[in-house]
């Protein structure tokens, strides 16, 4: 039996998943603390030993693929011209590449913007602006404004007509610059895939080399994407099988939502946002997490949480969690707190990710009905993942409750099948797709089939 080795170098743990090639059968999983400060391969091998120890049938180690979010993951700054046009598209391209996008610059860039870029110190800059054949002067001026601000890998995805000139400006100060297709070639058209692929490639070829994680060449050979991108790949796989899916990844610091749907628009009679909604979307709620951001969750969802829990006890529990990132719930009351916070994370993350229907009217004019994000009401499947959620006995109820709390204007999935990634293997499935897509699909399907199906309609 030959096993694919799928590794995820996380910020806290390095996880190994062994999957039988061909069948996609899960063989084993194991994890060990990430050894980022010494050599990440130490943690990798420790986890691999655990994964292979005690197997009834010995395995031959086959191809390896890995994702990494160690040492801060992938830090990207997005630059565009108009905040809700090219800047918004740039941000989404970076998010879809699995990046953290801690800085978005737009408008006519100033010295303050240049300083903000220095302070953020991104590993990659995605530089956008102007439709093809459109704005040139301001985009070139923006390139000049930030030309040598930081030593980052720059991806130019702006007005094609001046892209080479922009690249020349940005590379004059040294550093690697590459040109890809404009993310917004014309108004109403969005094409983020080339930029997204370039960011992912930049991560693999350049960024992880700069993190000092190891000297081992196999690490650089096997790491093929940032961790969130592995989950997004798994989302695409599940969407092919199910006709659309949302994956909710509730972590210690953030809650990520990945959705893939064929038709994210709301249909006739409803105006969409200025930039067409993308069928593949990732959003990151940087204030919603079960450990380092537990206090932030409490503050975000104060009323709902305090109605259901003793406020004093809850506050204490949240403070403890924020100070103890590796806290693991063991008692029923500890699980209750985790589940309550997870419900809040899931509810707000989904609500923010999906669009809302707005009905506005003014005297003498027809009403306008508009959606400000993707319409995911018909999404058939919602999957929960994340190290804490997958171990919760009430994980399905957490997601059910999160949806049923949403108001009727929200475009969250209404009646999805709910499944939990109990084996915590979705990222592994996303990696396996690079080796054997069919096996990856079987792995993903099987992993979710084992979880309880809950269908609770959205209360309106």
């Amino acid at each position: 039996m030959t096993a694919a080795v799928l590794a995820d170098f996380g910020s806290t743990f390095t996880k190994i998943t062994l999957v039988e090639l061909g069948s996609g059968r899960l063989i084993s999983t194991a994890q060990s603390p990430t050894t980022a400060t010494s050599d990440v391969m130490l943690g990798f091998h420790a986890a691999l030993r655990q994964a292979t120890a005690g197997l009834e049938t010995p395995v031959e180690i086959g191809p390896k693929r890995a994702a990494s979010s160690a040492a801060g993951g992938l830090r990207v700054a997005a630059v565009g011209l108009i905040e809700d046009l090219t800047a918004a598209v740039a941000r989404q391209a970076a998010l879809n590449a699995g990046a953290k996008v801690g800085l978005v610059l737009h408008g006519n860039l100033t010295t303050e913007d240049r300083q903000a870029l220095r302070d953020y110190d991104p590993e990659v800059i995605l530089f956008c602006g102007g439709t093809d054949g459109g704005q040139e002067q301001r985009v070139l001026a923006n390139a000049t404004a930030i030309a040598d601000a930081v030593d980052a890998h720059v991806i130019v995805a702006c007005n094609t007509r001046i892209a080479e000139a922009v690249a020349a400006v940005l590379s004059a100060a040294g550093g690697h610059v590459e040109v890809v297709t404009n993310v917004m070639p014309r108004i109403g058209a969005v094409d983020i895939e080339p930029a997204r692929a370039a960011i992912s490639e930049a991560f693999v070829r350049h960024v992880i080399r700069g993190k000092g994680l190891t000297e081992a060449p196999e690490f650089f050979r096997d790491v093929i994407m940032p961790t969130p991108e592995a989950v997004l790949q798994a989302t695409r796989l599940l969407a092919e099988i199910n006709g659309g899916v949302a994956i909710l990844d509730i972590g210690g610091a953030t809650t990520d939502v990945h959705t893939v749907t064929k038709n994210p628009g709301s249909g006739p009679g409803i105006e969409g946002p200025l930039v067409p909604v993308l069928p593949v979307l990732r959003s990151v709620q940087g204030d919603l997490g079960l450990r380092s951001n537990a206090i932030s969750v409490l503050e975000t969802d104060n009323e709902w949480l305090n109605e259901r829990n003793d406020p004093g006890t809850l506050r204490e529990a949240a403070e403890m969690r924020s100070e103890t990132p590796d806290f693991t719930a063991r008692t029923p009351s500890e699980w209750q707190v985790d589940e309550a916070l997870a419900t809040s994370c899931a509810h707000h993350a989904l609500r923010r990710h999906c669009g809302t229907l707005l009905v506005t009217s003014s005297p003498g004019r027809p009403a306008r009905i508009s959606a400000d994000g993707p319409d995911l009401r018909e999404l058939p499947l919602l999957v929960g993942t994340g190290g804490i959620l997958v171990r919760s006995p009430q994980a399905e109820s957490v997601l059910s409750e999160a949806i049923s709390r949403c108001e009727s204007r929200s475009l969250v999935p209404r009646r999805p099948r709910i499944a939990i990634d109990r084996d915590y293997i979705l990222a592994a499935a996303g990696l396996l797709a690079d080796i054997d897509r069919d096996a990856a699909a079987r792995l993903a399907r099987h992993a979710l089939a084992g979880s309880e199906n809950t269908r609770r309609p959205l209360q309106t």
Binding site: L81, I82, D84, L85, T86, N108, G129, G130, T131, G133, G134, Q135, E136, Q137, R138, M184, R186, I187, G188, G265, S266, G267, P268, G269, I270, E271, L274, L357, V359, S361, P363, G364, R365, P366, A367, R368, I369, R377, S408, R409, R414, T460
Partner: protein, 589 residues
């Protein structure tokens, strides 16, 4: 189906429409009603009853529209037309729609103080009496009768003197100057419908004219049928009034018109519809040639009527109508032609194979049912319900025509089509727009190419839902080589500026029809300046007026636009000339 909460469109404290209807019924039941001259002559209590008799006997009916500058002139014309028909040896028209002055839509106590517009107004009991007792032609109180805040006054006056088809449901979506109270308008409307419900057993009918309402801008004929079902549901099922579905002015294809007339007859379960309006879009400035349009249109309606015993009344459109208000002689002439077509209809009707038209009718009915079900489902799911006619009417009014067609439409969802649906049967208005586009492009192709237009960066959009104008602008500018960004309809100034920046637009072209020209242009100009795009030239076209407090009629603001620096070319061809002539910047902004 879309699930939207539309309750926010309802005003606080909207009274229960069912109570208004009941109040109206009580008024109707107590009303003293005199028969009209026409009905006395025919020996029937109501026009509908006569029509039922006439269709059984194969007696064709005809209708005309009349509304001269004043009631006195209109009354005189009625008499002259009647006499002229007799002189010509034809039966005079059976009925007419009074095209009353707009003030008639207001409550009586407000009419005198509103500015006079053109058209007959009935001020006194004597005026109303003369409506039905000048000549034996049956009037319908149609324009500015039921629909506005004066609905109750008008329906009582009309019924009292022997009018038995009273319109017009579709005009509920209209606005009247000097009146902003939509709640009061809705209640007056529903009371008036209640009055009609109260006398339903006497053969009184509530009429609509589809093209005066939302269907007049629909892209799909199946949605016409669906909208008719919806109006009928409100009038008949919710309010209890008998209903009539008149339609027809914006359709020129006789096959389509026949199929749709049959479909609407089915919708109304054989209740004779008041009239079928003649084709008003097929005419050109060739006056004699327009006789062909009129004759073809009326002949088909007569053939249909003869074959299917509809009991309808086609309106022959005067051949000068596109050029000016027709004289009474011109109205009379086409009425005579209409009567002269009867023997031809009799000869030809039995020979026609109607299968194709019947199949088209069935397709339209199926589509109409889809529209109707979509409307009901949406209204239920939106928290509006289907019980209180005030709630239903109000939300439909607030949504507007385009939103209703897009939300409820019969066509399959297809983003490639305007409005996001593939039409079951595209309307003649859409086809006409496409022909106009072809004409414009053909004219341009024989012009010498203007190199100043090549690559000129232009953003085109509309402030409202008028997509046809926007579509023609985009097509034409693309055809002359401009680099066009089609930014669509319902756009705000701020968003246009965002697009102008990203595209480095040299010109912004805006079409507007919703009374916001000046405020929109001012905001657009300011935002362009703030964004450092002051050199981007603004062009505006459409209906260049502004709704202004203190003036009940929108004011023309072309002077103000010029002062802001906005150009207002008279047409698309002029626009192209001006864009080409505008000095180009040395380098894009």
């Amino acid at each position: 189906m879309t699930d939207i909460d539309l309750r926010s469109l309802l005003p606080d404290g909207l009274p229960d429409g069912r109570e208004a209807v009941e109040e109206g019924k009580a008024i109707g039941r107590k009303l003293d009603r005199a028969p009209s001259m026409y009905l006395e002559e025919k020996g029937f209590r109501s026009e509908m009853q006569y029509r039922l008799h006439a269709r059984e006997q194969g007696i064709p009916s005809t209708c005309m529209n009349i509304g001269l500058a004043t009631w006195a002139e209109t009354r005189e014309a009625m008499g002259l037309i009647y006499e002229d028909a007799l002189r010509r040896g034809v039966r005079p028209p059976d009925r007419f729609n009074l095209l009353a002055e707009r003030r008639m839509g207001l409550p009586k106590e407000l009419r005198a103080s509103a500015p006079q517009e053109t058209g007959p107004a009935l001020w006194t009991e004597q005026d109303w009496w003369e409506l039905t007792h000048t000549v034996p032609m049956q009037p319908e109180s149609a324009d500015n009768s039921i629909g506005g805040p004066g609905s109750l006054d008008n329906v009582v006056d009309a019924l009292s003197v022997g009018v038995t088809y009273v319109g017009t449901f579709s005009q509920y979506s209209w606005r009247w100057p000097y009146w902003d109270d939509e709640v009061a308008q809705t209640m007056a409307f529903l009371k008036a419908v209640g009055v009609l419900a109260g006398v339903r057993s006497e053969g009184v009918c509530f009429d609509t004219y589809l093209e005066d309402g939302y269907p007049g801008v629909f892209r799909d004929y199946a949605n016409y049928v669906g909208w008719a079902m919806l109006e009928r549901f409100i009038a008949r099922d919710l309010c209890g009034a008998e209903f009539s579905i008149s339609w027809g002015g914006l359709t020129t294809d006789p096959v389509t018109k026949s199929a749709l007339t049959l479909a609407l007859n089915d919708v109304n379960e054989g209740v004779p519809n008041a009239f079928v309006q003649g084709d008003t879009i097929g005419n050109t400035s060739d006056i004699e040639g327009n006789f062909a349009v009129m004759s073809s249109d009326v002949l088909f309606m007569k053939l249909l009527d003869r074959k299917y015993r509809l009991g309808g009344a086609p309106i022959a459109v005067p051949v000068t109508e596109t050029e000016r208000i027709p004289t009474w002689q011109e109205v009379s002439a086409v009425q005579a032609v209409s009567r002269r077509l009867d023997p031809y209809a009799e000869m030809v009707a039995p020979t026609i194979d109607w299968a194709h038209i019947e199949a088209l009718r069935d397709t339209l009915l199926a589509g109409g049912r889809r529209f109707f079900e979509n409307a009901k489902t949406t209204l239920r799911a939106a928290g509006i319900g289907l019980e209180d006619p005030a709630r239903v009417l109000f939300v439909l009014r607030r949504l507007g025509a385009h939103a209703c067609e897009e939300l409820f439409g019969a066509g399959d969802v297809d983003p490639a089509y305007p409005g996001g649906r593939r039409p079951v049967l595209e309307t003649d208005l859409v086809r006409q727009t496409m022909r106009e586009r072809t004409r414009l492009l053909a004219n341009l192709s024989v012009r010498e190419e203007d190199p100043r237009l090549i690559g000129r960066k232009v953003v085109v959009s509309s402030t409202d839902v008028h997509e046809f104008a926007e579509f023609l602008l985009v097509s034409t500018l693309e055809a002359v080589g401009a680099d066009v960004t089609d930014f669509g309809i319902n756009r705000d100034p701020e968003d246009i500026v965002k697009v102008a920046v990203e595209t480095a637009a040299e010109a912004v072209v805006v079409t507007t029809h919703n009374g916001v020209a000046r405020s929109f242009a001012t905001k657009l100009s300011d935002e362009l300046r703030k964004a450092g795009m002051a050199e981007t030239k603004i062009y505006m076209g459409g209906v260049l007026n502004e709704d202004v407090d203190g003036s009940e009629i929108p004011i023309d603001v072309r002077g103000d636009l010029a002062r802001i620096g906005v150009s207002t070319p008279g047409g698309i061809e002029q626009l192209i000339g001006e864009i080409g002539a505008h000095e180009r910047r040395a380098a894009p902004a």
